[in-house]
Amino acid sequence: MTTVTTIPDTAHGHGDHDHAHAMPHGWRRWLFATNHKDIGTMYLVFALTNLFAGGTMALLIRLELFQPGLQFLRPEFFNQLTTMHGLIMVFGAIMPAFVGFANLMIPLQIGASDMAFARMNNFSFWIMPVAGMLLFGSFLAPGGATAAGWTLYAPLSVQMGPGMDMTIFAIHLMGASSIMGSINIIVTILNMRAPGLSLMKMPMFCWTWLITAYLLIAVMPVLAGAITMLLTDRHFGTSFFSAAGGGDPVMYQHIFWFFGHPEVYIMILPAFGIVSEVIPTFARKKLFGYSSMVYATSSIAILSFIVWAHHMFATGMPVTGQLFFMYATMLIAVPTGVKVFNWIATMWKGSLTFETPMLWAIGFIFVFTLGGFTGLICAMAPIDIGIQDTYYVVAHFHYVLVAGSLFAMFSGFYYWAPKWTGYMVNETRGKVHFWSSMIFFNLTFFPMHFLGLAGMPRRYADYPVQFADFNAVASIGALGFGLSQLYFLLAVVLPTYRGGKKAEAQAWEGAEGLEWTIPSPAPFHTFETPPVIK
């Protein structure tokens, strides 16, 4: 789209620039980016970098755990790795990647020319590399990075060295970035939809991000509170979490998990949104139960606020507390199940093809549901007493976060990459990536269910010899999974940006939605005149 519009382009502040010169070049294009496509791309590159960094840490962990005994790493460093692997994957990989997808796709899907606050968008992104450097830099602090687990429980985290303070600062920055990003997303979705595009006509991906953005605004400040209290306990003489001073270590857990539980829904709802876009396209059938899906997503979001203490069943809550949190947690299974059924009903009697995005989406449903079942099992407080802090929990959350969030992101990448790059992604290579990821993922994490039931605790640098075989299998699986992602980068992502079969505007036969009405690759400026939806 290179026609010059006669309507002043105030959303971008370009004034009366000729569009042939409107796109900046060189480093300024990126440092001063206000274009949602550029910012979205930067978020995805940042997230992929962190995926490999966190993944390397995971491989080091699995290397040490390959055999019983301490072979390569000292236990204190091992726990720095487990902590940073968690923080980097959650805050550096998954969350920024979903924000990247939001930036790239929301304006296109609602027919908006860009995000509502383009300059704040730039600031939201550029905070992240600074925060990332602080987080990584903490390895070099005296005493190394914090080794208190990504959950940073007091009083252990109060004992940690300066690496902990760097982490606290980094998390504050990332939280600010998320909050600003969420404000941007909410205002964009509520105010900048094309005329005629009512909320109940908008793509599910936008709905899930709208809801996720509200969750982020509600809970990131709570995390900020928790880590600030940690900071003052560490350096300014407070005793929020120290019994000796009248405080309570368990209060940290309450505050953290009040953030933490909605956080995991923040990490999965956009994934649900992506899958809800992909499945109808490759089933050539509209999403089944659109309004149900909206209500189910909203119920999940609201329920996510009242279940946090299911992470604390072993802390010594009174009976009423255990029961309430058990019941509330089990309730979340209901709307989640509704979503799974609606996806399958979308496939049912469709006209299915199985290109790579569809493989990932179907794979997601299969493996995420397994994770959902183990979550339901963890929700049963008596069972949780047996598996809390064991590898069963590690298996559960990796199933929902890796096989859930990450696989959905891969689905979204393969789905929308033609729109971003203008080229179709090589199908064979996509399938290699999918099948090797699926196989190695399950090889890595399925044995962990057995390890957890048998009693192997988490965050252990060494373990009784009877756990050796399953640990060895998991380590081999992890290596394969990691190599599959390297294959993704080198054999799929980089070549796709360089060339391939040209993509149509509507790259997929069954695709519907405003993003498929513009050329592939999407021009720098799109929807400068909003389309009218009937």
């Binding site: 429980y153 010594g316 496939m347 007493i385």
Partner: protein, 385 residues
């Protein structure tokens, strides 16, 4: 293509190297995990039987739901393909269906919650215990105090007894690797034991899988749990809340014995503790203190400061250290109050502290010739508040 070939070759090589350890044969741990164990530990208490039952109940329901739901999806994948010529239908909503598949799962979930509720309530009822034992989590060992019931007054520390050589791969690992201690908790069979948990420094967690018990040990707070073991035997668990670098090295071992054996153990243990209870007014020779000190050092200090006193990373070398070679007050301060990452060791007895301080001041290249007596620590405790 070349890239793919290279990947395959690298991968095959790595796989070959990695598969080698699977040939080691280990046996099941008595009272602990079995090799390649797939399910929970065998239940030793009624509560654990309930937990086993609940878990099978959940597994069966989830498997049935899985088969039905993914059966439908698989059917759809096979039959509703464009390549088979299947044309897409146009339905995209049905309120009836939505209600059905909301209500049925809701009923299933309520059905699951009912038996679980019974067990939760039972697990929380710690009243009317026969024996009460306090478990205190330390970085990185457990302390036990028998505070009520037969055995009252017994207290001891329970430390990992796996030799460091096994951990550092210099020796073959035993079948109770990492789940063996010097002093086991002993309880009588078929008696309700209430375990009160607390901690001295950070949060730990006390657990024995076979009993179905897990309870966080929180510094400055007391929590409790209970179990009634119905089988004689030795049962094991591991600390279950990240507590620092030796989190993996502070296991729990509980020996369940008959009533008669328990009474025998109680009197024997009381005698043993009385003998060990040291008179802090006793004086010892340099050699006696160094001998004792070497043992205390190996059990408590060498983990961070290394057996050769050279430390490493964040842990200073004691060999040639200025506090160790300097005025005694400096070292009393560090031992009794801790410093930075080093916790306070005030819980050791005066004799143990005197011994280890004498040992450090007269070992490696330190030759102060100083002898610290237990009474010195009595005085130090009084003056250092």
């Amino acid at each position: 293509m070349k890239l793919q070939r290279t990947f395959t070759l690298c991968f095959a090589g790595i796989l070959g190297f990695l598969l080698s350890p699977l040939s080691y044969a280990y046996n099941d741990m008595p009272g602990g995990p079995a090799v390649r164990q797939l399910n929970f530990a065998a239940p030793v208490t009624k509560i654990m039987e309930d937990i086993h039952w609940l878990h099978w109940f959940m597994m069966i329901i989830c498997t049935v739901i899985f088969v039905v739901v993914f059966g439908a999806m698989l059917y759809s994948i096979l039959k509703h393909r464009k390549s088979l010529g299947h044309k897409a239908a146009s339905f995209h909503e049905s309120t009836t269906v939505e209600i059905i598949w909301t209500v049925i799962p809701l009923l299933i979930v309520i059905g699951m919650a009912l038996p679980a509720t019974k067990t939760v309530v039972a697990m929380k009822d710690t009243t009317n215990a026969d024996i009460t034992i306090k478990a205190i989590g330390y970085q990185w060992k457990w302390g036990y105090e028998y505070i009520k019931g037969e055995g009252e007054g017994i207290n001891f520390l329970s430390t990992l007894s796996t030799p460091r050589e096994q951990i550092n791969n210099l020796e073959e690992k035993s079948n109770t690797y990492l789940m063996e201690v010097d002093n086991e908790v002993v309880v009588p069979v078929n008696k309700k034991i209430r375990v009160i948990t607390t901690a001295d420094d950070v949060i730990h967690a006390w657990t024995v899988q076979g009993f179905g018990v897990k309870q966080d040990a929180i510094p400055g707070f007391v929590r409790d749990a209970w179990f009634k073991a119905e089988k004689i035997g030795t049962y094991r668990g591991q600390c279950s809340e990240l507590c620092g670098k030796e989190h993996a090295f502070m296991p729990i071992v509980v020996k369940v014995v008959s009533d008669a054996d328990y009474s025998t153990w109680v009197s024997a243990k009381k005698k043993e503790l009385a003998a060990l209870a040291e008179d802090p007014s006793k004086t010892y020779t340099l050699e006696e203190l160094k001998d004792r000190g070497a043992k205390v050092y190996a059990a408590n200090c060498s983990v961070c400061h290394q057996p050769n006193g050279k430390g490493g990373g964040a842990f200073p070398a004691l060999d040639g250290d200025k506090v160790v070679n300097g005025p005694k007050e400096g070292q009393y301060q560090v031992l009794l109050k801790g410093k930075n990452a080093m916790p306070s060791w005030a819980r050791l007895s005066d004799t143990e502290l005197a011994a280890v301080m004498t040992f450090t001041r007269n070992s490696w290249s330190n030759h102060t010739g100083e002898v610290i007596q237990p009474s010195d620590f009595v005085a130090a405790r009084a003056s250092i508040k």
